[in-house]
Each structure stands twice: as C-alpha cells, then as structure tokens.
Amino acid sequence: MSYLEHRISVVPTGFRKILALHWPVLLLLSAIAGVGFLMLYSVAGGNAGQWATPQMQRFMVGMFGLFLVAMTPIHFWRNVSFMAYAVALVLLIVVEFFGVQGMGAQRWIDLGFMRLQPSEVMKIALVMLLAAYYDWLPLHRTSRPFWVLLPLFFILLPVLLVLRQPDLGTSLLLVMGGGAIMFLAGVHWAYFVTVIAAGAGMVYAIFESRGESWQLLKDYQYRRIDTFIDPSSDPLGAGYHISQAKIALGSGGWTGRGFMEGTQSRLNFLPEKHTDFIFTILAEEFGFVGTISLLALYLLLTIFCIFAATSMKDRFSSLVTLGISITFFLFFAVNMAMVMGLAPVVGVPLPLVSYGGSSMLILLLGFGVMQSAYVHRPRSKSGQ
C-alpha cells in the first residue's frame, strides 16, 4: 500500500512533523555520536580541537540535513531514487579520473570545503534505488529471472567501480546491503543459495589465482587475508594492526583503564586509532562495560528500525528503512569483527564514532530518509 491509497489526512503536516519523528532513533544516533566525541577527545590526548570539535560540527550539519530530509515527503525521495543512484554512479566514475590518492587507493573527490567519498553516497543511493525498484515491481515478478538480474546489475555496477579504487570493504558492504534488500523484498530462496555457493566458489578462485597471471586481488589484499588468518605471522608488519588492536581490547578488562588512560593509544601502539580502530580505544579505556554498552546502543537502533519498518504499510518506506538500518549494521558489525580479529582488516569505519566527514553525513542523511518514511507513514484512522 502506497501513501497515495492511504488516508493521508492523518499524516502530520508542518511543524507537527517534528513531534512525529522517531525520537528514540534520533536519541540513539546522538548517544552513539556522543560516544564518538568522547573517544576522539581522548585519542587526541585531551585536545578537543584536533578531532572532536570538527566531528561535532559535522554532526550538527548532518543532523540539520537529517531534519530537512525528514520533513520532505517520502514520495519525493522515492521519486528521486533513480536520480540519486545515477549521480552517485557518475561520481564514482569521476573519482576514477579525478580522485585524490590516499593510502594506495583513489577514493575521494576534493570539493574544496570537504572531501567527498562517492562510495559512501552510493551506499544510501543503492538502498534507495532498490527500495524504489521493488516498490515499482509487481509482486508476482519479484522472483522472475530477468527481474532478479536487473537489481543485481544495479548492485554490481557500482561494486565493480569501487573495487577498482580499490576498496574491498565498501564493495563487500554494497553487495551485502543490496543482497539484504533483495532478500527482504521477497526474492526466492534459491537465488541466495545459488549466490552463496557461487561466492564460495569465488573465494576459492581468489585463493587459487594467487601468484598466477590472472590474480584476482591486489597483493596487499592477499597480505591482509594472510595476516587475518594468522596475525602473529607478521607481528611487526601487516599483522601489527590486528595484534595491537587485540592487545588494546583485551587489556581493557571489565571496566577499562579509565578515560584517557589507555596506554596502547596514548603511546601510539594503535594504528589509525581515530578512524577505523577507534573501537579499541573505547575497549581499552572503558573495558567490557563500555564495549557491550555501545553494542547495546547499536542493537537498540537496529530493533527500533525493524519495528518501525514493519509498521509502515508502504513497500518503499519499509525497504528503505530496513536497508538503511542494515547498511548501518553492516558498518559496525564488520568494523567490530575486524578490530576483534574476526574479519580481515578491510577499512570500514565504526559508524558515527570514527572520525570522518562523508561517512557520517551520508549516514545521517540516510536516517533522514528513514525518518521521512516514518513521519509520512500511512496511518489508519484508529491512529495505529
């Protein structure tokens, strides 16, 4: 059921929309971002100006954007979905030619006032496009081969571009996020079984191709896999990140060493401690209590999103809400798994906590779309 068929008279208008926002989600987002500010302040050794203040400013900007997006009716966002996707795709192609080099990858477009990472934009754009696609597609076609291949094509096109940068982490996130929406939309089980089997075959091929002329991944990616499998094999080289991260995590114990007391971070043993590895600082300084609390915040956010999505009778709204929450979930799950040595180091930030502009902005805008869907959700007259 789309908003058009519903009694839109009960949908709030004007400033009443603010009251109708999903406040628990907003509070959770702020709480998580707050943890981020705290940690960035600590990482900089008590210097707010280095990372914490810019991060707060971006959060403010992001929140403002979130409100603007949330105030805009959801049908507008559905209608511009394809546009958003197309723009993101163009940006990805542009970055291929004019991007800024950083850490061996071509990922940014320097806009002067900020560095834009098109792959981040694509994460939300892809979710929106797929949600709009399944909103448009008649239900009985959902599992038809052609109508399955089409979204697959939408997913793989940006994935290939991101892989070329190269950014394995974001590509995997795009594939998983996209796949999740297809699954939610009701695509037949058999497709997923097939793809998972094919994926397993692919992994096999990746390992087979190593050292051959048709090598599928870059050498540094293989090394990351190697060190993931056995970090101690190269404790001073690539395995250093994982080993030191685990030491920081483990040494936190139950309650941690205390705010700004983490030796691993203060003495620079931790790599990229203000970005991808910021979780280890939290773990070191606040211990198990701190990490499990952050995980609880993420868990609550996920649960609220699922319930919000199921309360929306409109396909686009439900799918886009779930898609954003899953993208968010994938971010933190992969990041945590990575720093805890459960997944290879692929360079995925901890959402809203890691220092980084475009990732936070895009995520907040994404939640803006989710809020828009929630505010403008069709309601039955009884006020459900």
Binding site: G186, K246, F288, L295
Partner: protein, 644 residues
C-alpha cells in the same frame, strides 16, 4: 504504484517475516560480537594486560661496576678506570653531519670511529644513544661538555674500562676481560641478560674468567615507559645495580715479580706455595705479556706476535703445562714402596748402571752405576736402578694412589683457566685411554717419573708442600672475597707413616746439602734458609746415540726439561717451590739454582745477599743478580701512576 489491498497485505507480511528473519540473523551476529568481546576482555584479559605492559615498559639494564682484584698486600691488580665518552641521539641532533662537523672542530675523531658511528646511527632507533668517541682525555671531555649547548644530541658519559696496573706480572693469574662473543653465549646456560649488552666485558682468562660470577655483580634495572617509536615517555622505577665482589688474591706480587725476572725470557714456569695454608704466593709462567693489550681489542700484529712466539707466552704453563716429573717423582715411588712394606729403609740394592727386565734394558742416568745403596742414598744420588727395583715390587694401583694423595693426577680447584689434571697412571687409566693392559715396564718407567706420568708445576708444588708439611695442603688463590677470609688450604693429615716421611725429607735435605746430593752445588750456607729439594731431568726424546746424550746437541724441542722442587726452611717448612724450565737441560744445573734463589727471596722478602751463597758461586750469582735488577719493577709506583 497502485496495488490491491490483498497485494499490500501479502507484501507487508512478506517484508515483516523476512525482516524478522534478517533481524534474528543480525541479533545472532551481535551475539557473536558480544561473546568475542567477553572472551577478549574478560577471559583473556590478563594475557593482554601483560602484553600491553610488555609493549609500553622498556627495561634497561644498568651494568654493575665490576669487582676489583687485589694482591695479598692490597695492591690493585685489576681496576676500573673512567672512560670519558660521547654519545649522540639522532632524534635530538637534528642534522647529524653538521653536529659531527662541529664536534670535529673541538676534538679529533678517527675516521673509522666516525664511520662506525654513522652506520650505528642509521641502524638504531633515533632515540638510542650511539657512541661517537671514547677514551677521551679529561681536557677533550670538558671541552665538549662546555660546548654542549651548540652540540645538540651530544651527551657526555663516563663509563669504565678495565685496567691491570700490575701489567705483565699477573697476566697469567688475573687474566683479562673482553667483549662477550657468540661462542661465550653458546657455552653459558641461561645467560645473564647483561651479556646481551653489546660489547659487554666479561672475563676471558684466568681469575677474571673463573671468578666471573663473583666479579660481575648484579645488574640494576631502569624501567621506562616508551611509546611505539621507542621514545622514553617517563621513568617508572629504578633498581640500583650491585657492584661485583672485591677479590683479594694470595699472590705476593713482589715475589711474583722477582720470580718472573729470575726465570727471564726462557720458556719456564714456577709455583711458590705456602705449605702452612696452601696460599699460592707466585704462579709464574714466562714469557709473559701485558694483559692491558687485550682490553678493548688487541691489534692483529701484537696478537700474531704472541701466538707465533715459540715459547708460548699465551699459555699459563704453571697450571696448563704438564711434564714428566722425572726424578722429582721418586719421593712418591719411595713412599709407595715404604708404605706398601716392600722395602725397608736399610735394604740395599746394587746399581750396575742398568737392569734388564723381560729382555728390556733400563738404564740408570749414571751409566757407570752407583754401586750398593739404601733408600736415602738412592734418593740423594737419584739412582734410577734402585727405583726400577722398587717398581718391580709395587702394585700399579697402590703406586698411582700414592701419587694422587700427593696431588698428582688430581685437578686442583684453583680459579685459573684450563687447569690440567695431569696423569697418575695405573692399569685402569691405561685400559681406558690407550686400550692396553698395564705392563711391568710401565711401572718401571713411572718409578722415575717418566713414561705416562705427567704433572704440572702447580701439582709439583702441591706435592712438595705435602712432603714438607705432612699435611693435605690444597692450593688456594683467593684470600678474601669482600674482605671475608676464605678457608685455609690445609684440610687434614696425609696419613703417611711419619718415620717414612722423615726418611724422605732427610734424603731431600741431602740432595741440596750433602756432597753426594745432585743439587749440592746450589746449597745455601746460612742454616736458617736451607732448603730440602729434589732435582729432575725429564727426557723428552729417546736417546739413541752417544752424541744425543749431550743436551745441547739436540734440537730445542727435543731437549730435556729441567725440574726442581723444594721446600724451605728444611726444618720448619713454609715455602714450597717448583720450577720447570722447558727444554732447559739438567735439573740440577738449570732448575735448582733458580728454585734456590726464589726460595731465598721468599724467605727474606728481598733479593738474597751474596753472603747466603757458597764462596765458589758468589761471583756467578752476583752477575746474574745484576741482570735481574733491570727486570724488577718498582711496585710502589707501578700501581699509583696508572690509577691517577
């Protein structure tokens, strides 16, 4: 898109179902993450805390000051002299080359030292100090210290270098130190972490080597918190090092110095031992060399010179050299026979110049024969045939046991390098080492200290000390450790029939004081200082021709060793002396005069006046003494100039 209400319901249900399915999966993944957090932070926390401390805490060892070594009069024999040096820390220096150039305007630095510094600076972390120059004079050192503000990264430091103020006198006793080698490390089980410090000095030979654990002391530890780059962020705590023990040796350097001078440049060795407590007063081997050459690395030229010298200056012959004791062993043979009851003091044996046993001819050194004589005469004249006769009555094990009771074939516990055990041969020894049965001929050869018997000068001195005192006297080199006196060397009675011992002692007195004695020519005329001794001439090669009998006709390495053992005063023994002159010739002519002079010096505490000698030798003694004077060091100044 417009849908029918039915379709909407189907769509909504499907999404809800799959959303909860996916939600369950997400929950599961979060459960795994939470479980992993618990595992790392709660279960394995202790391990990671330890690893974190290992990361951040850097333990720097503070080397202890090495213990000093003194002689028995308190003269320093091994000391630590300040080594003024400069170190550079790259991190603080900024432009290394500019600083080095500025430094060279102040003091001269050798090119190879500069090269070494540059490579070290590149190799090490920028926070580690690297030595730029060492062994600076006080003037150079203070010049750099005064200019420190314009030399960023340069630090002045005072380290210690080992020095041996007594120079060549105690080289073979004290030994010397050198940097730890990989070979040293491989030999030591569970090495002290101090040894891992680059170029850490440990004892390489002599007492420095054997008393290493006492001398080394205990390292202190400075614990610092360092960051990932190795820069020290703050000092945590510090344990002060414990200096090594101070060792006082029993060596009397004045006597040792005289002994070395008296032995001269020939290849010889001498041990002087106090028979009343086992103190080793002199342990000398010639030629000797200055131990200071080895500290901080000896030059190739110097080393090759020492190595290729045919007199073997690198060997401490007094404990490492083993020689056939020859006739000095006859006291053992005599006592073994007396104690076994196979001969009486009065039984006479006739010497015809040789005997034949199983168709083998055994010669006496006197081919003309000594005629009929009893034990005392036989010892004084050193008649070989008499002892051949005893040998035929002796059991080889009893014989060897007697030698061991007198310290031959026993490794004495003396803290010197490569102390030799020597050989007191018997059947068991021969079966094990040669794979052959003991033969009567072996006992006959052993009876005059030839054949398989081997003893070091130290063992001969121990034997003589025991003969003179009738006590079990063990050699003792360490007098005090940190001023705590070490136990006396006398550990009990020899348990030899005193009458038998007195008989042998009387014969030894006769050797050096009776006209028939083989060392009558080296007697002392002052009764107070008279010695009892025994000559020995150890055959190195088989004598085949008449011309061979003249020692000087043979090539150096085939000439006889000259030996003499003695104790003095004869009636109240105090000083046991053993002298071995390698390839020196006859014991009576070569070794006995040396032993006599050393014995006199030991008793008088000075170069003996010519009045102590018989008239006919005074001229010769006086000319010898004039030569010795030049070799004597002025010990009152030798230590003080070096210490300054």
């Amino acid at each position: 898109m417009r849908r029918s209400p039915n379709e909407i319901a189907v769509s909504s249900r499907r999404i809800t179902r799959r959303a909860f399915l996916l939600g369950t999966a997400q929950l599961g993944i979060m459960g795994v993450l939470g479980y992993r957090m618990r595992q790392l932070q709660v279960e394995e926390s202790e391990k990671f805390k330890l690893l974190a401390d290992e990361n951040r805490i850097n333990e720097r060892l503070i080397p202890p000051v090495r213990g000093l070594i003194f002689d028995r009069d308190g003269r320093p024999a091994a000391i630590n002299t300040p080594n003024y040096r400069l170190t550079m820390t790259r991190d603080q220096a900024g432009d290394v080359e500019t600083v080095l150039a500025d430094l060279q305007k102040l003091i001269a630095i050798e090119d190879d030292q500069l090269e070494k510094t540059r490579t070290e600076l590149k190799r090490r972390s920028p926070f580690v100090p690297v030595i730029v120059a060492q062994n600076l004079s006080w003037e150079e050192f203070s010049l750099v210290a005064a200019n420190a503000p314009v030399l960023p990264g340069i630090t002045t430091e005072v380290g210690f270098t080992r020095r041996y103020p007594l120079g060549k006198n105690l080289t073979h006793v004290v030994g010397y130190v050198g940097p730890v080698s990989d070979f040293d490390l491989s030999r030591i089980e569970d090495p002290d972490p101090l040894l891992q410090i680059p170029r850490y000095q440990i004892g390489k030979t002599g007492a420095e080597e054997k008393l290493e654990l006492d001398l080394r002391g205990k390292a202190g530890i400075q614990r610092n918190e360092v960051n990932a780059a190795g820069r020290v962020m703050r000092h945590l705590d510090r344990t002060e090092p414990t200096a090594g023990s101070e060792i006082q040796l029993t060596i009397d350097t004045k006597l040792q110095n005289y002994v070395l001078a008296r032995l001269g440049d020939i290849s010889a060795s001498c041990v002087v031992m106090d028979t009343t407590n086992g103190d080793l007063l002199a342990v000398a081997s010639t030629p000797t060399f200055d131990a200071n050459l080895f500290v901080g690395g000896i030059s190739v030229k110097d080393y090759n010179g020492l190595r290729d010298n045919k007199f073997g200056p690198l060997r401490a012959k007094a404990v490492q050299g083993i020689y056939p004791p020859a006739s000095t062993y006859k006291m053992i043979t005599a006592l073994a026979a007396l104690e076994a009851g196979v001969i009486t003091p009065t039984e006479q044996v006739e010497c015809k110049g040789h005997i034949e046993v199983h168709f083998n001819k055994f010669n006496c050194w006197n081919r003309g024969g000594h005629g009929k004589m009893a034990l005392q005469q036989a010892l004084m004249k050193s008649c070989d045939v008499y002892f051949y006769e005893l040998a035929q009555r002796l059991d080889n094990e009893d014989f060897a046991n007697m030698a061991r009771r007198f310290g031959i074939g026993v490794r004495h516990d003396v803290p010197l390098s490569a102390v030799q055990r020597g050989v007191a041969p018997d059947n068991a020894w021969k079966v094990e080492s040669k794979g052959e049965r003991w033969l009567l001929g072996d006992t006959i050869n052993a009876s005059i200290g030839q054949g398989f018997v081997l003893a070091s000068p130290l063992q001969l001195a121990v034997m003589t000390a025991r003969l003179g005192s009738g006590k079990i006297v063990n050699p003792r080199l360490v007098n005090t450790v940190d001023t705590i006196p070490q136990p006396s060397g006398v550990v009990g009675d020899l348990d030899v029939n005193p009458e038998h011992l007195a008989l042998v002692q009387k014969a030894m007195f006769g050797v050096a004081n009776r006209r028939a004695g083989t060392a009558y020519g080296t007697r002392t005329i002052w009764d107070k200082y008279k010695l009892a001794g025994k000559t020995g001439t150890a055959q190195v090669s088989r004598i085949r021709t008449a011309a061979d009998r003249n020692n000087a006709n043979r090539p150096y390495h085939l000439r006889d060793h000259a030996l003499f053992v003695s104790y003095a005063p004869f009636d109240n023994p105090k000083y046991a002396v053993s002298v071995v002159v390698e390839h020196g010739g006859s014991g009576g002519a070569v070794a006995a005069p040396i032993a006599r002079d050393i014995s006199l010096f030991a008793q008088m505490g000075q170069v003996p006046p010519v009045g102590a000698y018989p008239k006919n030798v005074r001229k010769k003694v006086a000319s010898e003494q004039s030569k010795i004077w030049q070799h004597l060091d002025d010990l009152d100044t030798i230590g003080t100039t070096d210490q300054a």
